[in-house]
């Protein structure tokens, strides 16, 4: 009697544990990880864009076509990931995402697409190698960033440094 109770308990425990593992596998990753991932990706892009901006202002001569293409590729990559970066449950907590991302999702996806298009064009222009065209296109990429920030990102503290 006692023995079968122990076995029964053991089976039950294993079953519960397994169910837990399966549930864990299907559950959303910790929302904070996604928030950190997308914020870091955007910060990285901000770094690339800032390098490109410094070049576009005519101050820098070391920049090669290859780095411009690499930066553009990173921006294209992010633009393709953006649609998946904002799953349900990542709209609260340490995020500056506005609810409009979910409320006007089609507009949001269109803004992400525009970033992809302008960045793709930057890679193309960089391949062709016309300096004036590259600098002009860098400005277009920046505008595409702003096109998403205004409707979909909460205003950040204006530490405009």
């Amino acid at each position: 009697m006692r023995r079968s109770l122990v076995i029964g308990l053991a089976i039950g425990t294993v079953a519960v544990a397994m169910a837990g593992i399966v549930a864990e596998a299907f559950a959303q990753a910790r929302p904070l990880d996604m928030i950190r991932y997308r914020q870091s990706a955007m910060k990285g892009n901000g770094g690339y864009l800032n390098a490109l901006n410094a070049y576009a202002k005519g101050e820098v001569t070391v920049v090669t076509k290859d780095t411009i293409k690499a930066y553009a590729a990173a921006l294209v990559g992010t633009s393709l990931e953006i649609p998946g970066m904002f799953p349900a449950g990542t709209d609260t907590g340490r995020t500056n995402a506005k609810p409009e991302i979910w409320q006007k999702n089609a507009d949001f996806l269109a803004a992400a697409k525009r970033l992809g298009e302008e960045s793709t064009k930057l890679a193309e222009v960089a391949t062709a190698g016309n300096e004036a065209a590259m600098k002009e296109q860098i400005g277009k990429v920046a505008q595409a960033c702003g096109g998403c920030h205004q409707p979909f990102r909460k205003p950040l503290p204006p530490a405009a440094k």
Partner: protein, 311 residues
């Protein structure tokens, strides 16, 4: 017609002939004048479009968020005094400004008074537009009147007592409004004066970037030094060249580039309402004009005014 024909010799005929030639000349002049007038109007519309961009009229007078028609109004403008709804300024004769004369339009911008004599609330930045030249105001009207009309009625403002009392605006104007066209400073360069005109008269930058007192008047001692309660509850940064709290680390190239693209030297691209200003206004100006604005702004007195939300 033979010479000495008795028919042509009568005084009446002489008069008729004279009149005929007067009409012929007048007709020819009119025929020549019509295309000239059309050309003049086309030129005014073209100049007016640039003024329209520089003055950033479209965003406030268009309810873009709800896919409203251009200049048909209805955009909610939340302020500490209540929510205003921008009016329809298309040339629709019933709902818009289609019946306004040039004088009506000038008075609205210069004096902040509507054709029926009532005073505008300063949410309409006539406080800046008063600095515009007559020519620019006329051209702006020509452009607005060339755009499609929209028959959309105005939405009443949603503001509480006592701010809803329009006659109080007379007192507000006495306290906070100085009427008059921009007077160039002869001691400064043409570029500086152009920048001042673009920034203060057309761009009306100070309306958001200068802190306001409890009655909504702009604090002249902290011009462009930022505001924690800007439009829609957003903070407007200090854009004086103060090293620690303003944009003292920027130069005119940085600032002109930001006005074109939205990108700030730190790597971010501005969101907030400034993104709208860049998209609809400053990105459409010439490089020379953006540079003039940048140089003007960086020539202003640096004001130590840290902009952050109280926690």
């Amino acid at each position: 017609m033979k010479d000495g024909d008795p028919m042509t010799a009568t005084p009446a005929n002489v008069v008729l002939k004279g009149l005929a030639s007067v009409f012929a000349i007048a007709g020819a002049m009119l025929a020549a004048a019509a295309p000239a007038a059309a050309q003049a109007n086309a030129d005014a519309i073209k100049r007016g479009e640039y003024i329209f961009r520089a003055a950033d009229c479209a965003p406030c007078h268009t309810d873009t968020k709800n896919k409203g028609a251009l200049l048909a109004g209805g955009r909610a403008l939340p302020t500490p005094f209540g929510t205003f709804y921008s009016p329809n300024i298309t040339a629709d004769p019933v709902n818009g400004i289609g019946k306004w004369s040039d004088g009506d339009f000038t008075r609205a911008l210069r004096e902040g008074v509507s054709p029926d004599g009532s005073h505008y609330f300063p949410v309409f930045p006539y406080t800046s537009f008063t600095l515009m030249t007559d020519q620019d105001i006329k051209d702006l009207k020509a452009y607005i009147f060339s755009l499609p009309t929209v028959a959309l009625a105005n939405k009443p403002h949603d503001i509480g007592f006592p701010f809803n009392l329009r006659f109080l605006q007379v007192g507000w104007k006495m306290l906070f409004f100085t009427e008059g066209v921009y007077k160039p400073d002869p001691a400064k360069s043409a570029e500086w004066n152009r920048g001042a005109y673009l920034t203060e008269a057309l761009g009306h930058c100070a309306e958001c970037h200068t802190p306001r007192n409890l009655l909504g008047g702009m604090d002249r001692s902290r011009w462009m030094a930022g505001s924690i309660d800007g439009p829609e509850g957003e903070m407007a940064p200090n854009i004086t060249p103060h090293e620690a709290t303003g944009i003292g680390e920027w130069d005119d190239i940085d600032l002109a580039y930001m006005l074109k693209t939205g990108a700030v030297p730190g790597g971010d691209v501005v969101g907030s309402l400034m993104a709208e200003v860049i998209r609809e206004s400053t990105s459409k100006l010439t490089d020379a004009d953006r540079t003039a604005m940048a140089k003007y702004l960086l020539s202003l007195p640096a004001v130590d005014h840290k902009i952050e939300k109280p926690r």
